[in-house]
Amino acid sequence: MKTLVSRPWLWSWVAAAAAFALTMALTGGGGASALAYAALGFGAFAAIVGLGQMLVITLGPGNVDLSIPATMTLSGTLALKAMNTEPGTALMGLGVALLVGLGTGLANYALIFFVRLPPIIATLAASLIYQSLAIWSNRGLRIKPPQELADFATGRFLGLPNVAWVGLVLAIIVWVLLERSVWGRWLLASGQNMRAARLAGVPVELVRATTYVAVTIFAAIAGYLLASFSGGAALNMGQEYLLMSIAVVVIGGTSIAGGMSNVPGVWGASLFMFLVVSMLNSYGAGAGVRLILTGLIIIGIVIVASTRRAQR
């Protein structure tokens, strides 16, 4: 019990494992590898956007990016349009997606810094424009990804989905940055106490700017992969990731008060969010039960986290 409390990232993995085991209990162990494969594949998208949202939430109260869904849609749409289903354009498409991420991140931060908007309202307002940009450029057409990219997004390597590998590599990069780089230390310090960090010589605005760019780049990568995975960009493809990105961060054990990130927890929570659906499905419970359970878990976690804070 003590280890559970002191290692918040474990929770989400234990919960994911429990959901997995409960599903298996019903099927008698049948389809275990298929379920794990699907969880890794679908969970990867939530994990990638969750990693970005985690960095922003680490900046402390009031910091959250609501433009993730619109950025995903815009990057998926523009990248697929640029590639136009022609072979050999996958890398060019990735470049387009990354540029979209860079652009939306810079625009978000410009609104925060120059117009002094609270991050919530800045990313919200900007996301409405990104959404319209996506609608306008898409014009209702569904452009297929180039074949080799579609194959990559749905394919596997060493038995694991390729998208899961991408999510894993990104998670390792984020972990190294947070734990080993000077920038990571600065981010964690700024999130604990922006004023104290500034007084200790941390360039807090630089940290904030890079974080807001990082989150949209992650969203852009997720959008690019998701569009390729599902055979084309859809205008509502990012929608469910608005609340999902915040939920996996909170369930993963990252502190909403800032200054404490939890990379493995984000992955565990992403797997859990998928597995709990399949568990409830296999028990015949409806989508309603799944949503209520998710909500109860999120609220339970903040209550536990706050009482832990109070005890300390």
Binding site: S181, L188, Q192, R195, A200, G201, P203, E205, S255
Partner: protein, 479 residues
């Protein structure tokens, strides 16, 4: 206790042997005090003498650790019900509400249709009474008012009826942002209020005001009342003498005389300056602009966007929770936050170098822990402060800014740190040191005394004694 009228009436508030301890700190060390109708009590004392703790005990903000607080005149249990009001230095209005609406917050009896008109009437009456010709619109939102106007509103709310009449009003530095004419209006009102049977506790750094209004003065030092006499029995000089400590030996003398000062490295428009290798003290009563001057200096010399490999200036925070500690981190990470760029390689933290520097400073400054990877909050306040010193001193920065860094630090730690600061200064570092403790300031080579957000005196050499600092901290002239 001289006025016979005051002696006969039952006291509004009576403290019997009240103490207040915060951990090991005895903020109030056994105080007995009676305040009777018609009295105006002047309360003076240096920083940390226990004035604000006493005020908070009287107004019910803090329960005493031992002893009793009673309200015999009204027979009520609570301070609010007994008609005790406080007007604090920190602004306690709701800035988003209008002047009249703020009265509504503290007077729940304003209700029903037309409460607004009633509130406007009451606050206008009170403002007119205390500050005739004030020109404040009761419909103005508080955050559109100037600081002086806000302070006037707070005082007016303090004296307003609010369901029951005010019996005792505590005014903590009420004139700090009022100009002389308006302050005089307030003093006149206080005299009238007391003449009509009210009582006032008046805290001020303007000794002229104290003498102008107080019928009785109490002087506090180290959590005790050291003198309590009718105002006429004091002179300005005897007040300052009562507030001060017995003369302490000047420990810094030898070191101060010995080391040679270099060129001027800091010079600000407001008159603050420092030379290479100098320890410059900032003194005066707390809240008179010292911390702000240091913050301006530091923030102006550093950037939120760039971090040079080796910083030119570092900051040691005194308010550890607000300005210094990273509460989620280990001691090690807290200690090395400011030297990460100096030792980093390609943006990555150089962990062996980090550990080595931390170990060096753990030894040099004596951080009491068996493992630097323990959480910072496992340390005592004094040791946390040592970590903040280590964070600053471990860098190569030639200038160190210290914002009252010895708050709540034990004597042993203080001695360690004084020695360390002298040693570093001898090596050519410059220190700017704001302290609320005169004894510390007396260790400096040069002292700037602040009053009302400006430098009121610059002291050097033999002039750096408590008496001179107190004289410059308090307004000696007539208000």
């Amino acid at each position: 206790m001289q006025q016979s009228a005051a002696q006969t009436a039952a006291p509004i508030v009576a403290l019997t042997d009240a103490t207040k301890h915060f951990g090991a700190v005895r903020a109030l060390d056994g105080v007995s005090l009676e305040i009777r109708p018609g009295e105006c009590l002047g309360l003076v004392g240096h920083n940390g003498a226990g004035k604000s703790t006493l005020v908070n005990i009287v107004n019910g903000g803090l329960p005493p650790t031992s002893g009793t607080v009673e309200f015999p005149a009204s027979g009520e249990q609570g301070a609010l019900a007994a008609g005790v009001r406080s007007v604090f230095q920190e602004l306690s209005l709701c800035p988003n509400l209008t002047v009249a609406e703020n009265l509504r917050i503290s007077n729940a009896e304003l209700s029903g249709i037309g409460w607004r008109r009633q509130a406007r009437k009451e606050i206008n009456q009170s403002l007119d009474k205390v500050f005739p010709g004030h020109g404040i619109d009761a419909n103005a939102e508080v955050d559109t008012l100037s600081i002086a106007e806000r302070q006037m509103v707070e005082i007016a709310i303090g004296f307003a009826p609010r369901g029951r009449d005010a019996r005792l009003v505590i005014l903590d530095e009420p004139t700090s942002s009022l100009d002389a004419g308006i302050a005089e209006q307030l003093l006149a009102h206080i005299r009238e209020f007391c003449a009509n049977g009210g009582a006032v506790v008046f805290i001020s750094h303007m000794l002229g005001e104290i003498f102008a209004v107080a019928s009785r003065i109490i002087v506090m030092k180290d959590g005790l009342i050291v003198s309590d006499r009718a105002a006429g029995e004091f002179t300005r000089q005897s007040l300052v003498d009562d507030m001060g400590h017995v003369a302490t030996e000047k420990a810094g003398d030898a070191a101060g005389a010995a080391h040679v000062l270099g060129d001027e490295v800091i010079s600000t428009p407001e008159g603050l300056s420092a030379r290479r290798g100098e320890i410059v003290g900032l003194s005066g009563l707390a809240g008179h602009g010292q911390a702000e001057a240091l913050a301006r200096l530091y923030l102006g010399a550093t950037s939120s966007w760039r971090r040079p490999k080796s910083p030119k200036i570092v900051f040691v925070a005194g308010d550890r929770t607000r300005d210094g500690i990273m509460p989620l981190w280990s001691i090690l990470r807290n200690a090395t936050l400011s030297i990460l760029s100096e030792t980093s390689r390609r943006g990555m933290v150089n962990r062996p170098a980090e550990a080595e520097i931390a170990a060096t400073w753990k030894r040099r400054i004596g951080i009491r822990t068996d493992d630097m990877s323990n959480p910072i909050l496992s340390l005592s306040g004094g040791n946390q402060q040592k970590v903040l010193f280590a964070r600053a001193l471990a860098s190569q920065a030639p200038v160190v800014v210290m914002d009252d860094p010895m708050r709540g630090v034990d004597v042993g730690t203080k001695q360690d740190v004084y020695a360390m600061i002298r040693a570093e200064a001898a090596k050519g570092r410059t220190f700017l040191w704001y302290s609320t403790e005169t004894e510390e300031v007396c260790q400096c080579d040069r002292v700037f005394v602040f009053r009302n957000n400006a430098i009121s005196a610059e002291l050097t050499g033999a002039d750096i004694i408590e008496e001179r600092i107190l004289e410059a901290s308090f307004e000696m002239q007539d208000a």
